[in-house]
């Protein structure tokens, strides 16, 4: 039986399949549900300084099988209230990665300090939500801002800091390089891809917020490309995110350079059972390839790869 365990920023994980931030993570009991279903770890909802209800509905539009658009607006109970949900999960033995979002480097640092006391194994900085005014992508699109935030957080905490970066920037890899330079111990890529749906009968956007974030199978190759490019530029481990719903998808991300992956939208289609199924499939695809350790395939697709010239030889 192939070994699915991986090490992420010094943290041993039983498998590389993490519950993505924003999915199921509002209550401790739900985090436990994902863990018991076989997730290797869970990422909380992004937690901010104050309770925040998020945007009014519609917050989600589901497309046939290829994707989903959402603009939840970072709803969360706030950092004062949320630790008890984490503690419930920790008491159950769940490996919890705490996601936080702030509007400034100082706010991130303050949240990080509080989040780090809850027993989380790592922090994930949401520098990439595509639909929240003053947060996420708005302060995560410029490498200088990313560097400033990560540096402020790293100074405050001992746990590893993972920067979740946006695909909605000219060069996502440049953002990862900035995060690494500032002391991040990992990169999560990608968050959702900025998107829009219009109801043509009503001639108006479907989501209350208008712009949302696209997720699901439609963005898998966007995420893969980001992971691929980041892998070529940084040394720290990468968590691949975007459109993963099978063992084969995970293997693609691993070969592009991911050490672990986050699964989100697929949970909507089949519930947290998805973790067990994907782990089984991963097991099978590795056996079929005669590989006994998933970790040995990280970045495998880069080996010997060169970009050919498109020009006629001189």
């Amino acid at each position: 039986m192939p070994d699915l365990s991986v090490e992420l920023a010094g943290i041993p994980l039983r498998n590389p399949l993490l519950l993505a931030s924003g999915i199921w993570g509002e209550s401790g009991r739900s985090l436990i549900g994902a863990w018991d279903a076989g997730a290797g770890g869970v990422v909380t909802k992004s937690i901010g300084s104050r309770p925040r209800p998020g945007y009014p509905n519609p917050t989600v539009e589901e497309f046939d099988s290829w994707g989903m658009l959402n603009a939840m607006g970072l709803p969360n109970p706030g950092i004062a209230e949320y630790p008890r949900e984490i503690r419930a999960a920790r008491d159950h033995g769940v490996l919890v990665i705490g996601s936080i979002f702030g509007g400034t480097a100082e706010e991130f640092a303050r949240l990080a300090r509080e989040m780090a006391t809850t027993g989380v194994i790592a922090l994930e900085l949401n520098l990439s939500c595509p639909h929240a005014e003053g947060f996420g992508t708005e302060i995560g699109s410029d490498p200088k801002d990313v560097e400033e935030v990560v540096r402020a957080v790293v100074r405050e905490v001992k746990v590893p800091v993972i920067a979740k970066i946006t695909p909605n920037a000219a060069d996502p890899a440049e953002l990862a390089v900035a995060a690494e330079r500032a002391g991040a111990k990992g990169i999560s890529a990608i968050n959702t891809v900025r998107g829009l749906a219009i109801d043509t009968t009503l001639a108006r956007p479907v989501l209350a917020h208008g712009i949302g974030g696209l997720s699901g199978p439609a963005i898998k190759s966007v995420g893969l490309a980001a992971v691929w490019q980041i892998y070529r530029r940084v040394q720290i481990p990468i968590v691949g995110v975007g459109g993963i719903s099978s063992g084969e998808d995970v293997l693609e991300y691993v070969m592009a350079g991911a050490r672990a992956v986050e699964i989100g939208t697929a949970v909507a289609r089949e519930g947290v059972r998805v973790f067990g199924r994907i782990a089984q499939e991963l097991d099978r695809v590795l056996s079929e390839r005669g590989t006994d350790r998933l970790g040995s395939l990280v970045g495998a697709a880069h080996r010997g790869f060169e970009i050919p010239t498109a020009d006629f030889p001189p």
Binding site: I23, G25, P53, G54, N57, V60, E61, G78, Y82, R204
Partner: protein, 258 residues
């Protein structure tokens, strides 16, 4: 994916409840709900009060300013519908006691009608604050159910809470199942009565909802998500949940008293 439809009929059921009928061809089952988008305003989860045929229906109770505004929308208003979502009532029991409190009866009515059509015996205990607020008593009587009512102010039927009527009916008759929907304190009492008599119970519960796809966690209830694991639960399950009848989550995810 939502679909835009027009409200084709609007019925004032009681002073505080309005039913909308709209064309929606998707097969729907008693117990299921749809997400109803009122463009420019909100999108709300609504249990189906009519599930058969090409025209479905929802019955809306005035709770606050949003629902009151929504209720006032006239026939012809365009709304978005997605779904149906969630699970359904088990229609196999042959002797069913239906216990509805206030607008909770809206969720129970289509299942009761279907069960009656398939030859089941259905007894209904319907409660309301006052006679004018009794919902679907005529509809269920016409469908062939035995209907007993109670009102808080004694203007119709037995004065007091519907749980007393339910207890009496449970003592008098023999039932294979109890269905209930209404305020959770009421449902808890009904669930306990069913349990004490060894009768299987099902209750439909309500929580704040956003995605309705089992993803956002807004409607989490213990280890369950009301949108995909419910809204119909075994009452045994509900009684085992610390939150049932006590707390819900607000839109930010904070736990607040019901």
């Amino acid at each position: 994916m939502h679909r835009i439809v027009e409200i084709e009929d609007r019925v004032l059921e009681t002073p505080s409840t309005v039913t909308w009928r709209f064309p929606y061809a998707e097969p729907c089952a008693p117990g299921q709900f749809v997400m109803v988008w009122i463009p420019g305003d909100d999108e709300l989860p609504m249990s189906l009060s009519y599930t058969d045929g090409p025209s479905k229906g929802v019955t809306i109770k005035a709770m606050g300013s949003t629902t009151r505004h929504v209720q006032s929308l006239p026939t012809g208003t365009r709304i978005g519908i997605r779904g149906p979502y969630g699970n359904r009532f088990d229609l196999t029991p042959r002797r069913i006691l239906v216990v509805g409190g206030g607008s909770g009866t809206a969720v129970l009515a289509p299942g009761a009608e279907q069960a009656l059509r398939s030859g089941a015996q259905v007894t209904c205990a319907l409660g309301a604050t006052t006679e004018l607020e009794l919902l679907f008593a005529k509809r269920l009587t016409a469908a062939g159910a035995r209907v007993e009512v109670s009102t808080d102010d004694g203007t119709a039927g037995t004065p007091g809470f519907v749980t007393a009527v339910a207890d009496r009916l449970l003592a008098e008759g023999s039932f294979d199942a109890v269905w209930t929907c209404g305020p959770e304190v009421m449902m808890r009492k009904v669930a306990e009565s069913a349990r004490s008599r060894g009768i299987i119970g099902y209750g439909s519960v309500e929580r704040h909802m956003k995605c309705a796809l089992g993803m956002c966690d807004a409607c989490s209830l213990g280890p369950y998500h009301v949108c995909v694991d419910g809204p119909v639960f075994r009452t045994e399950t509900l009684l085992s949940l610390e939150e049932f009848g006590r707390t819900k989550r607000d839109p930010s995810g904070r736990r607040v008293p019901l």
